[in-house]
């Protein structure tokens, strides 16, 4: 088959894979958009994802709770909410230095998921997780069918969440409060907005979506769990928020760009793409998406006009 594939076939296959690969980033990054738009940098996404990944697969596995995939997802959401609550207590109530506390939450999630995995499971587990959903009729369309409509259920969810996030942030009263709290908490407070409460809400929401991001790895896209299985994806998600300048649409573009670069470098490897007859070292290709992210971050600096002015700044009532 590989010999008969045209460039078009390769790109179509890459597009379908890209959507799936972008999914965990998208959930985690959209959650982080809410937290950051309200002024809280939660760098603990990685750790929350790990706990989400573990709790979801433990819930679904016959070595665990033997629950259904939807219950597994909901448990991951709950665990994510608890981790988000912890992040909120640390960052909002105790006003910790947000970069450092995030690393702490990541280490907590890594340690806790590892210990629980060892104590409760012990070895590699696989599950019958959330599967592919072929959208009736649409999945039969040529080209677009296989790309867009033969995906895992959680892939659709991630992309539907983008316009919903935009709408919530820009068109609802709560979204207005979130933005106000992130831009000018003092003014928001004067207007009667409970700054701490809004920040608790966004950070917990971010935790819930990070839990889904973790579950999307362990019970949907790769129904398997190993220690540290997120391998830095939570940090990439945080980078994508900056990359996307706090706009859900641009965050989605960033997640797609990063995942497309990642998938295309796999194609470059398997198709043995050469430069002037010499193979490209795989390590160089593997770096491409990361280098691309850094470059975009560097060049995106000028257009960060909507950076929440109060990002990482704790708020205390009555402060001057």
């Amino acid at each position: 088959m590989i010999g008969e594939m045209t460039l078009f076939d390769v790109l179509a296959a890459a597009a379908a894979l890209t959507l799936a690969m972008a999914t965990p980033y998208l959930y985690a990054a959209l959650g982080e958009v809410f937290a950051q738009r309200s002024g809280v940098l939660n760098l603990g996404v990685e750790g929350i994802m790990l706990m989400g990944a573990f709790s979801a697969i433990y819930a679904v596995s016959d070595k665990g709770l033997n629950a259904g995939p939807v219950a597994g997802l909901l448990i991951a959401v709950g665990v994510g909410a608890l981790m988000g609550l912890l992040a909120a207590v640390i960052n909002v109530t105790f006003q910790a230095q947000q970069g450092i506390s995030g690393i702490g939450i990541t280490l907590l999630g890594l340690g806790m998921s590892t210990v629980l995995f060892k104590a409760l499971v012990g070895g590699v587990i696989t599950v019958q997780g959330i599967g592919q959903v072929y959208v009736p009729l649409l999945s039969d369309l040529p080209v677009v069918g296989p790309i867009f409509f033969r995906q895992n259920a959680l892939v659709y969810g991630a992309f539907i969440l983008v316009p919903i996030s935009v709408w919530v942030l820009n068109r609802t009263g709560w979204g207005l409060k979130v933005r106000a709290v992130g831009q000018n908490p003092k003014a928001a407070d004067a207007m009667g907005v409970n700054v701490a409460r809004v920040r608790y809400q966004t950070v917990i929401l971010g935790g819930m979506l990070a839990g889904v991001a973790g579950a999307s790895l362990s019970i949907a896209l790769t129904p398997v769990f190993q220690e540290n299985m997120t391998e830095g994806r939570g940090f990439i998600a945080v980078a994508l928020v900056y990359f996307g300048a706090w706009s859900p649409w641009r965050v989605m573009l960033g997640a797609l760009l990063f995942s497309a670069a990642n998938n295309l470098q796999i194609w470059a490897q398997i198709l043995d793409v050469r430069v002037a007859g010499a193979p490209i070292p795989p390590n160089l290709l593997i770096m491409v998406p990361y280098v691309l992210t850094i470059l975009v971050l560097v060049f995106a600096r000028q257009r960060q006009r909507i950076e929440p002015a109060a990002l990482t700044k704790p708020f205390e009532r009555g402060e001057n």
């Binding site: 190993q226 796999i266 490897q269 398997i270």
Partner: protein
Amino acid sequence: MKARFVSIALLAALLALLAFGGLVSAQGPVRVAVVMPSSPTDLAWSQSIYSALVAVQAKMGGESAMEIAVSDNMFRVNEAEQALRDYADDGYDLVIAHGTQYGTSLFDLAPDYPETSFAWGTATDTGADRGITNVFAYEASAEQGGYVNGVMAGLMTTSNVIGVVGPVPAGDALLYINGFRQGVAASNPNASVLIAYTGSFGDTTAAAETAKTQIAAGADVLTGSAQQVVGAIEAIQAAGGYWFGTQSDQSVQWPSTVVVSQVFNWVPVIEDMLAQRANGVLGGIAYNLTLANGGLTFKFGSVGIAPQVLVAAGNATEAILSGEIVVARELPE
């Protein structure tokens, strides 16, 4: 100055007395520690050494004869170095650094613990040229089983597309992949072998994404190396294809997908290290698992395999054993 010299000399004499009198070794179990990059139940690299240690312990008579300490998930080299030092400080007899990435640290610390035996794998270097005498090295000729796996894979693919999910192009993974490619070329010259590396040993998601890309390119048979492969095996199982394993027996988890696994059997290696140490040889020997010395074995799953495929695998194994086939460890680009 003189007093210090005398006390050091006395201490040395005492230690020598204890050592030659066999008092040290007679005082309880042999103590073996291992530092590994993933979990002892990873169905791959780390499990291969852990299973061997447990087997040796059982042969020796249980925990009263041999103590095993494990530091797992030491994917950060600086943490691994600290763990190695802690075990040496703790007086372990044999401290195993089970990862190519630990080599630099090991050679830094080994001279500080001249009484301790260290082992490093996969490696061929015992540090002898640097004057280090207390490090054993061990490796597997993974290319040999890779060749046999490749012969079978070449005959079992119906799409003539085979995927390889590698970690990094180095160490026993590269040996295995090179052997596998030669095996496929021997049994099915028309098959394409699509090779991609993830750049990681433990990234199960990246391994799954790589496998799915190869499946999208038509692959119906996959193989790969390192603890990350569990993600790739899940992906090929979902696609209804076959998997060929290496390092540990992967059919236990996916019996209907894993055709066969090349299994590293480190038992004789560990036994010999302990025997050498008991005889006063603390290091300096490089071990290599091969088909000939029984260090490489095959474990089959429950996949139905056509008789001619088994015959071809048997013939390839015989040819490697007899020296008729010499599997190249390196291939031209």
